[in-house]
């Protein structure tokens, strides 16, 4: 059974959630404090934080690129027209 969250102590699920938010700088100071506190006594949390940070670094340092959503929908519309023409 999942442990309950208290003011100071959090369960792993909550710790993982805070860690995920921290990767996007969306966690509060208090949340981070509770995460660090959990890390002091939980090996699994420490491993999760390490893995998660590594993934963030990989994506950021390697300039992974994606097509912007607007670009993609424009391209989709154009391509669908062309596809229709080919089918006709």
């Amino acid at each position: 059974m999942e442990a309950k969250n208290t003011t100071l102590f959090i369960n792993f699920k909550e710790a993982a959630h805070i860690c995920d938010k921290s990767q996007y700088n969306e966690s509060t100071w208090w949340e981070r404090f509770r995460l660090v506190l959990r890390m002091t006594y939980c090996k699994i949390t420490r491993a999760y934080v390490k893995k998660n940070k590594k993934l963030t670094r990989l994506v950021q340092d390697n300039d992974v690129e994606c097509m912007d959503n607007h670009m993609k929908s424009d391209l989709k519309a154009l391509f669908e027209q062309e596809l229709k023409k080919n089918l006709d």
């Binding site: 993982a16 959630h17 995920d20 938010k21 990767q23 996007y24 969306e26 893995k51 998660n52 590594k54 993934l55 963030t56 990989l58 994506v59 340092d61 390697n62 300039d63 992974v64 690129e65 994606c66 097509m67 912007d68 959503n69 670009m71 993609k72 391209l75 989709k76 154009l78 391509f79 062309e82 596809l83 080919n86």
Partner: protein, 186 residues
Amino acid sequence: MTKHVLEPNLWIDKYADYLFNYTVTRVNDKVVAQDLVQETFFAGLKSAANFKGDASERTWLVSILKRKIIDYYRKINSNKGKAEVRINYTDEETEGDWLEERVADPFDKTAENKIENEELGLAIHDCLEKLPVKQAEIFKMKTILNYETKTICNEFDITPSNLWVIIHRARTSLASCLENNWFDAK
């Protein structure tokens, strides 16, 4: 050997990001990359009849894209003289700094690093392709395109809690996929 079939109606969703990433690392220009990816899809559609099914759809599209990238470089190289490098010094103070400018920067990324980064970028896209479509889209919007939580929630009509659950699942799957396919392979 399994024969592959073409499904052009799924090309944009399945391969646009992969091909875009592949192109940007080679041409260093997002607008040019978008044009080249577009041309690739159109050319693929035109020559769909020539697809034998031996290679996967993506490999076949990448081979078309490679030719488009070569054509792009041929075109810009044929405009010789326009790409002349000029170093203009406007005042006496900056004059003479040129020797330093020309020395190779030891902190600059080496060619080997660059190749490894490109490969890793493609490996990340490979792993993203294995995720459920919605999960992959939300992860890309949040992590790569840096969209705000609110914007993504509005676009997909989900609550912030749903978004964080999706992000958590995507990150966990992606980390394990990279661990198996990238770090173990290295």
